[in-house]
């Protein structure tokens, strides 16, 4: 089995990981309650989507 010949240096590891960047989540405003929400997903604060209501979509900070 092929195995690495050399230990990956801290420098190489850190150079590689420096390019792992987080991207900001796109947010829009809920037309019903004006809270921020992700597009194409039911509003997590009021549960509305496209004029319909989804109770299961509602989220609080602590509950999933």
């Amino acid at each position: 089995m092929a195995v690495p010949k050399r230990k990956t240096s801290r420098s190489n590891t850190r150079h590689r990981r420096a390019n792992w960047k987080a991207t900001p989540v796109t947010l829009t405003t809920c037309p019903q309650c004006k809270a921020p929400m992700q597009p194409h997903i039911a509003c997590p604060s009021c549960g509305s989507y496209n004029g319909r209501q989804y109770g299961v979509a509602e989220r609080t900070e602590h509950q999933g």
Partner: protein, 235 residues
């Protein structure tokens, strides 16, 4: 080579996948709406819609085909007797998937999949076309009235149609609202729309009412039911 199934594979093997999908579709037909992961919902949709097509056919053979997937006779009965009649007017698109936020434990994107059982809503373009046809008929009638005396009675009938109901005001030439009147009345459907309600913007108003009560008094019905047209209830 057979075309591979669209969408992600589920479960530990083909048999497991069949079981998962069968259980999901059984729950969907039992409860009308279920919450599951987005990928399961996407796999479930074609299966559920195919079974609804069988249910709309409604004969014994179709019922036996459905029974090979949904093992619960009670659920199959509900599908054929209660769900299928609601879908009679609908040409496909029997289910609706709405994404909801990710699940807490594993951050899996979740979705609600539900049966679309409400009556088919007419598209705005269809309404416009129907309105145009009506106008054309009226104009041709008016033209006939001018050419001969005999169809004069018909013309008066046409005039009676555009007569205003009580408490209503005709729309301005450019379709904008007359002052003090904010409730739209649709003469074609006989329904009224209060400001800010779901179909308000796309409705072409023939009549305008000062309030929902005036519209009701004139024999107009609330579009989409009483709750949707409750006045001043924007939240």
């Amino acid at each position: 080579m057979p075309t591979p199934t669209k969408g992600p594979r589920l479960g530990g093997g083909p048999a497991h996948e069949r079981l998962i999908l069968a259980n999901l579709v059984t729950s969907l037909f039992e409860h009308d709406s279920i919450t599951t992961t987005e990928s399961k919902a996407k796999r479930l949709r074609p299966l559920a819609e195919r079974l609804i097509t069988f249910a709309k056919r409604g004969d014994l053979h179709a019922r036996r085909r459905v029974m090979t997937v949904v093992r619960d006779k009670g659920v199959v009965h509900r599908l054929f007797v209660e769900v299928a009649p609601d879908m009679a007017e609908r040409q496909g698109g029997y289910t609706r998937i709405t994404k909801i936020g990710a699940r807490k434990g594993d951050n899996a994107p979740m979705a609600v999949i539900e049966l679309v059982r409400e009556p088919v809503a007419k598209k705005a373009t269809v309404k416009e076309a129907e309105g145009a046809t009506k106008r054309a008929v009226k104009e041709s009638k008016a033209a006939e009235a001018e050419t001969s005396e005999a169809p004069a009675a018909e013309a008066t009938e046409a005039a009676a149609v555009v007569e205003l109901p009580k408490g209503a005001v005709a729309a301005n030439e450019d379709g904008s609202a007359p002052e003090g009147y904010s409730v739209k009345g649709n003469a074609d459907s006989g329904k009224y729309h209060v400001e800010g309600s779901q179909w308000y913007d796309q409705t072409e108003a023939e009549f305008w009412f000062a309030s929902a009560d005036d519209a009701k008094a004139a024999g107009f019905e609330p579009a989409g039911g009483e709750a949707k047209q409750a006045e001043g209830d924007d939240a």
